[in-house]
Symmetry: C2
DNA sequence: CTATACTTGAGCAATCAGGTCGGGTTTCCC
DNA sequence: GGGAAACCCGACCTGATTGCTCAAGTATAG
């Protein structure tokens, strides 16, 4: 599980898609204009998202992209995994490269932390983000006040 | 909050340091040999860790590094933040670059996710990792069975 | 049949990961 | 005092990735 701007771009674009999906397919040109992401870069990202079946494409005029599943079934973890290459997490790759008594220390450790972060992000769905966005629509930089209505999923 | 192999190397090295700190300062050469991380790379990482006061150095023969605080007070989030440059998370940088009604959408979104991941990793301490390591010492690739004794902190 | 929109691939500048090299400086120890 | 053990530091290098452009497609509505 890597976490860079690339995944952020992808999640941002998917959120925009979810927010505009009510009126048929959403064009990359639209997302590009609204989110200020270059069209060509979006094309690359959505190529991956399509191959991983997170979105569906409609070609021709009036075409664009639709979510392949309901927003409530699409997780942030899925989106990030779709666009970011996986990471090996260990220099020995699980093999016998390191053979002393510290052999699998890093391996186990990172599998654990990986699983934890991934587990967390896989419980945040696009629908959660849409909801979040709608309840705090335009606004300025946002007061830090929180209510219990935020729900347990994405709050700390 | 970025999450790459760099941060992993740093956490791995700090864990090794914590595991061997009982017998005085730990040398980078030792960490390098045990964890198979290049000495020069470790020097770079520990330079940052020292400047952020996560470790203390002892120069001269018999020298090395010590933790600057107790392991129970050192969090994974601190370590990762020390070695990985921060990330801006948004193309408008909080400024008036984007001015339509989607102005702060990505900004708020990422601040939120950032805070969440960071919040999680800041509740995992080095002491937790040491404990984990001691209870499951050498072993092979580790069976996926889990018990409640794992505790709530770093399990999913 | 044309405009719209997705699809694919080559290529490119900048940055970063991960590491090498070559020098320092501080301090212990003989 | 002179090594040697260790940290310290900065330049530099290589390869991969990021983020992007350009150019050429293909499918389809009208």
């Amino acid at each position: 599980m890597r976490l860079t701007t690339k995944g952020r771009f992808a999640v941002t674009a998917m959120l925009d898609l979810a927010l505009h999906s009510s009126k048929g397919p959403v064009t990359l040109a639209g997302i590009s204009a609204r989110q200020r992401i270059s069209l060509s870069y979006l094309e690359q990202l959505f190529g991956k998202l399509r191959r991983r079946s997170l979105v569906e494409s409609v070609r021709g005029p009036g075409g664009g992209y639709n979510l392949a599943k309901e927003a409530s079934l699409l997780t942030v973890a899925e989106i990030i995994n779709a666009v970011e290459e996986s990471i090996d997490s260990t220099q020995c790759g699980g093999k016998e490269n390191c053979h002393d008594n510290h052999r699998c220390m890093t391996h186990d450790l990172w599998e654990e932390l990986n699983a934890t972060v991934h587990g967390f992000l896989s419980r945040v769905t696009l629908a959660d983000l849409v909801e979040k966005q709608r309840t705090k629509p335009v606004s300025v930089v946002a007061p830090r006040a929180r209510t219990r209505a935020d729900g347990p999923t994405i709050t700390v």
